[in-house]
């Protein structure tokens, strides 16, 4: 929490570490893209399959498109993206900062009169905060597309009705709530992972512990905060 407050206060102090922010945005955003896309596609696909099985029992197969769209945008898009990114990026952040801690690179930053929060944490924090919503938008689109493919191609739904059902019941607020979650998840991943890396001690073993902890704690925090954001918003 203290680190979060310090990070926020350093975020608004010039100069901005432009070079580092761009580097981190690539790491968080661009490199996570394939993982997020595959996750979203198959989630959308399996959702269509499962909800079809369920809805068929009371003759509501045409609602598949709606269910896929709502689940993906409101829930699964942001949560699964958050979990995948915390596994991929959170672990990398903790491992990198942890290694820098135990090899005195963080001390070296201080001796070069550079605040490590400003130089190391703020760029990661901003990158996660900006790139997570972007990834979620892609995940939403791909997830819905995956559902459509399964619904239309495999389950034989009528394409026009499927699309109409998707659009008619989908509101902008569904999308916004998902994106708000993404921003919060981004902050959670960066803050927790950087904190774990920063406070690593005890050589390689310590770095390993910090990495595991970063992923476990940020994943759990994402799941728990997801419930509370949903509960407050609706």
């Amino acid at each position: 929490m203290i680190l979060f407050a310090k990070t926020l206060s350093w975020t608004f102090r010039p100069p901005l570490q432009g070079r580092e922010i761009i580097k981190q945005m690539q790491e968080v955003g661009v490199r996570s893209f394939p993982v997020v896309i595959i996750t979203a596609a198959f989630t959308g696909m399996v959702l269509a399959l499962q909800s079809y099985t369920g809805f068929k029992r009371f003759g509501a197969e045409t609602m598949v498109g709606t269910v896929v769209a709502l689940s993906v945008t409101r829930e699964l898009g942001p949560v699964l993206t958050g979990l995948m990114v915390s596994g991929r990026v959170g672990s990398a952040m903790a491992a990198e900062l942890g290694t820098m801690r135990v090899t005195e690179q963080i001390d070296a930053l201080y001796t070069l009169a550079t605040n490590p929060i400003k130089y190391l944490i703020v760029p990661r924090f901003l990158a996660a905060l900006i790139m997570l919503p972007v990834l979620v938008i892609f995940a939403d689109v791909i997830g819905i597309l995956g559902g459509y493919l399964v619904g239309v191609q495999i389950l034989g739904a009528n394409p026009t009705i499927y699309i109409r059902r998707t659009w008619n019941y989908l509101e902008l607020s569904d999308l916004y709530s998902g994106l708000l979650k993404a921003v919060v998840f981004g902050m959670i991943i960066a803050t927790i992972s950087c904190y774990q890396g920063f406070s690593a001690e005890g050589g390689a073993e310590g770095v390993g512990r910090a990495t595991t902890k970063a992923v476990v704690v940020s994943s759990l925090t994402i799941l728990i905060s997801n419930y509370f954001i949903t509960a407050f918003l609706f």
Binding site: T103, Q105, A108, T111, N115
Partner: protein, 255 residues
């Protein structure tokens, strides 16, 4: 030259403990302008903690540290950063930034604190590297260097901002004797050419005799003796005698 009598760095009655274990137990030390001070002592005697206190990486529990007459232990982060600009530090393992190339490492301080373009920074970095006998390594990454090379690059990074004070953490530990002697030569040259004040911590006596104007011995968290290399060699203190001759028998209990 009236300030010449004032010490560049003055450490007064410094205490520091980590979880029950007292590491520094009232350390007093003065380092004069332009002097090369070497702090010797066994592993775990608190040498590293002492220099990390001086550059503000560790907060002492008690006591004062004066740099150019300014007390530093109560400074804010920003004020401390200004004081740190007077310092350069060579870390034991080099502590080069893994993700940056050699010239970016050396030019790190310049990029953070001076409004210079990449070309200018690179030029200065190349010049500092050449001063340490390193050529054509600007674009490679730290992981590709040997231990001795890393130390020299780290030294280039420490002097890139032309600091007034250099701190050396075990400059000759972990490298071969020839390279160690080359590092000693470089440290002497830094002092002569750039007129820097320096504090080195080491347990390598060959190095200590070679680079020191004065040597201070740290034992059980206190400075037990300070003097020129000659004075240290002829010290009557049995602790000092045992340490400089590397005997396992004596007042210092190792087992």
């Amino acid at each position: 030259m009236s300030r010449n009598s004032d010490p560049k760095i003055r450490v007064v009655n410094l205490f520091k403990s980590f979880a029950e274990k007292e590491v520094l137990h009232g350390v007093n030390l003065e380092v004069r302008q332009g002097e090369s001070m070497v702090v010797i002592g066994g592993s775990g005697s608190g040498k590293t903690v002492l220099i990390k206190c001086i550059i503000g990486l560790i907060q002492p529990d008690e006591g004062e540290i004066y740099v150019d007459g300014q007390e530093i232990s109560a400074l804010s982060e920003q004020e401390m950063n200004e004081v740190r600009k007077k310092f350069g530090m060579l870390f034991q393992g080099g502590a080069l930034f893994d993700s940056l190339s050699i010239w970016e490492n050396v030019g790190f301080g310049l990029r953070q604190h001076k409004r210079l373009g990449d070309e200018e920074i690179r030029r200065i970095a190349t010049e500092k590297l050449a001063l340490l006998g390193l050529r054509n390594i600007e674009d490679i990454m730290p992981a590709e260097l040997s231990g001795g090379m890393k130390k020299r690059v780290s030294l280039a990074r420490a002097i890139a901002m032309e600091p007034e004070i250099l701190l050396y953490d075990e400059p000759t530990t972990g490298i071969d004797p020839v390279m160690a002697d080359a590092i000693n030569e470089l440290i002497i040259r830094m002092r002569e050419q750039l007129n820097m004040t320096s504090i080195a911590i080491t347990h390598d006596m060959t190095s200590a005799y070679k680079i020191a104007d004065r040597i201070a011995m740290l034992y059980q968290g206190e400075i037990v003796e300070v003097g020129s290399p000659e004075e240290i060699k002829s010290s009557v203190n049995p602790i000092v005698q045992q340490f400089i001759h590397g005997r396992s028998e004596g007042p210092i209990k190792v087992l």
